[in-house]
């Protein structure tokens, strides 16, 4: 349920009245989170950006259907997830480029790199890059609902109830999905988790 003082809901009300500036503000705020979710589903930056644009286009076209009672971010990520699912289905019918293809694992293929901005030393940067690739591979191996749930957990403004709404299941089922996803990731990334690279700085 949307907070009456939710700034996103207020912006969407303006969008419903044709306010393009309000819509632009929403795009600026959510473009990265949407792109993160779509990219980790499609695994191709160009296609992910096209789909992410389509998400916002769909939001604009469907603005007249937006209900103030719904939280905007929940509505937005539901649209994003549905479009991702449509794309997954389309690819399964036309498997020119399988989603399960792990180009990063092939020695003679360049990995689909994600820019890293946090490491400073060259060695640490290489290690960090390798760890990020491993996480991405592990995420890609998860079933869609688990991968989406993990991605949505990164969105601070989404509560577990909101995530449940996007996934279309109950709160307990959602927490179970997240729990299973994390178990799978921990198992897959065990060697890296033990290195202590990700230890919190005390």
């Amino acid at each position: 349920m949307a907070n009456p003082t939710d700034p996103d809901a207020a912006l969407m009300l303006r969008v419903k009245q044709g306010d393009r500036d309000a819509f632009e503000e929403l795009v600026e705020k959510y473009k990265q989170p949407v792109m993160n979710m779509v990219f980790r589903t499609l695994r191709d930056a160009t296609e992910a950006e096209d789909l992410a644009q389509h998400v916002f286009l769909q939001v604009y076209k469907s603005a007249h259907r937006y209900e103030i009672s719904a939280k905007f971010s929940t509505w937005l990520f539901t649209i994003a997830r549905n479009l991702c699912l449509n794309e997954i289905r389309r690819r399964s019918r036309h498997p020119a480029d399988s989603l399960d293809q792990h180009l990063a694992g092939e020695e003679d293929q360049p990995a689909r790199e994600i820019g890293d901005r946090k490491a400073t030393a060259a060695h640490d940067e290489l290690l960090q890059r390798e760890l990020v690739e491993k996480i991405d591979e592990a995420l890609a191996d998860l079933p869609e609902s688990q991968r989406t749930a993990i991605q949505l957990c990164r969105q601070e403004e989404l509560s577990y109830e909101d995530i449940a709404e996007v996934l279309g299941c109950s709160l307990s089922a959602t927490k179970s999905i997240i729990h299973r996803a994390r178990e799978a990731l921990r198992e897959r990334l065990k060697p890296y988790l033990r290195t202590g690279v990700w230890k919190e700085e005390e």
Binding site: R20, F23, E24, V27, E28, K31, Q32, M35, N36, V38, F39, R40, A45, A48, E49, A52, Q53, F56, L57, Y60, K61, I114, G115, D116, R117, K118, Q128, L131, V132, I135, D136, I150, C153, R154, E156, Y160, K175, I178, R182, L185, R186, L189, K190, Y192, L193, R194, G196, W198, K199, E200
Partner: protein, 170 residues
């Protein structure tokens, strides 16, 4: 604190850092349940790994492209909603213009071809007449033409008629 409370603390840590009170509660639990220590440490490491995942690459003009796509969509929608006759005019006017141009150019082309053909025929006629004119006798031969023609129109005399009849009878 029971296992359910411990689970709630874990779930909270998946989304945000613990408060001081939550940290204290967790420590108390782990002291009593040391078997959960390893699980908690790997959980923490995973939390950190996921939170440190870099953002996906995104074009600097992403928003501009979204707005551009909306403009295009609105234009399409506007055209779709235009009255039928305007749509028909928009559809057929350019086609008719092209067709008129093609017919016009074709007509002009045909006219030029016909003109050349007529000129060729005229040139051939002139050439023919020139040849005939060369073969014709001198004009001075025609000066007594009227007199000669009148001679042919006179009736023969009676004596000539009797002579002709006699010759015919033989």
């Amino acid at each position: 604190m029971n296992e359910s409370d411990y689970m709630n603390l874990r779930e909270a840590a998946w989304r945000r850092p613990h408060t001081a009170e939550e940290k204290a509660q967790l420590q108390s639990y782990l002291v009593i349940h040391p078997e959960s220590q390893l699980e908690w440490e790997s959980d923490t490491a995973l939390n950190l790994a996921l939170s440190n995942l870099p953002n996906a690459p995104l074009s600097s003009n992403f928003t501009a492209r979204v707005l551009q796509a909306i403009d295009l969509e609105e234009l399409r929608e506007h055209r779709r909603r235009s009255p039928d006759w305007i749509q028909r005019v928009r559809l057929w006017l350019p086609r008719m213009a092209v067709a008129s141009l093609v017919v016009g150019l074709g007509g002009l082309g045909y006219q030029r071809v016909r003109l050349h053909q007529i000129r060729d025929e005229q040139a051939r006629s002139v050439a023919l007449i020139s040849k005939v004119a060369v073969a014709l006798p001198d004009m001075s031969m025609w000066q007594d033409f009227d007199a000669i023609a009148r001679l042919g129109q006179t009736q023969p005399s009676a004596n000539d008629q009797i002579l002709w009849a006699a010759l015919s009878a033989e």
